[in-house]
Amino acid sequence: MRFHLIDRIESWTPREQITARKVTSVAEDCWRPTPAGPVLSFGLALEALCQSATWLMMLSTDYRLRAALLAVDEACAPRDVVPGDVLRTHAVVESMSDEAAVLAGLVTVGGETVLEASGILCSLMDAERLDDPADTALMGRQLLGKGAPR
């Protein structure tokens, strides 16, 4: 699967918070079968929140740093995500340096919490080590609704 779990960034405040959105579709290949039908795995719901956090780190540092997940103190998924749900992720920075950040956050569907996580510890890495900076910046523009540069 294409491992991008954020479709839009709706708002962000440098080094403070981000709200992002992911629409889900039955056409995606991320669904897990259950006796009652397909659901998004716990891990991918958590990943959507963590990817919001890494975009906040990248935007806050002008794409210089990106986050790698080191630890999660606790995460709870009170209900499942099903095809057609629209996820809204909201991550809040509790602390941040040039080496690491700690965040907490929520994933909601229609205002109902589907995942809540605390103590999300991320190592901040040189973003160029992971991806081409031009590609990352282009995707950032798309997520922010600015489209491709002309």
Binding site: G37, A75, E128
Partner: protein, 133 residues
């Protein structure tokens, strides 16, 4: 009981003692589609997919019924896992009732611990599952 049975998502089951523990191997070939985007310059298996493997093996270790991962506690990712690695996942059931189960999990690559989960809390899933109606 050591068995040759398959657990979805794993390439080999080393040990499976229903209700108690399980050990299984998941190979990480470079052909996994996730490596195309995670990341282009430095392919690494997303930690959450290791967490999912732990949960999958936990469900197999519980042995019966349908289980849903509800809560994780104390999850640590200590080293990157990438193409060519063979990950050995061990889970141990630390508590269980009819409706809930607690499982501890560890992932190793060549004896090096790459990830741990102090607690996976699973709940018995009844049909229809919450959120799927």
């Amino acid at each position: 009981m050591t068995t040759m049975m398959l657990v979805p998502g794993f390439d080999r089951v080393v040990e499976l003692v229903p209700g108690e523990r399980a050990v299984a191997i998941r190979n990480i070939p470079a052909t996994l589609p996730v490596f195309a985007t995670h990341f282009a310059r430095f392919p690494v298996l997303p930690g959450v997919l290791l967490l999912e493997s732990m949960a999958d093996l936990a469900k197999a270790a519980l042995g019966d019924g349908h289980w849903r991962l509800r809560t994780v506690r104390g999850v640590r990712f200590r080293h990157f896992v990438g193409p060519g690695d063979q990950v050995e996942i061990r889970v141990e059931v630390t508590g269980r009732t009819d409706q809930t189960a607690q499982v501890r999990a560890t992932a190793r690559v060549e004896e090096r611990v790459v990830a741990t989960a102090r607690g996976l809390a699973l709940v018995a899933a009844e049909q229809p599952w919450e959120g799927t109606q």
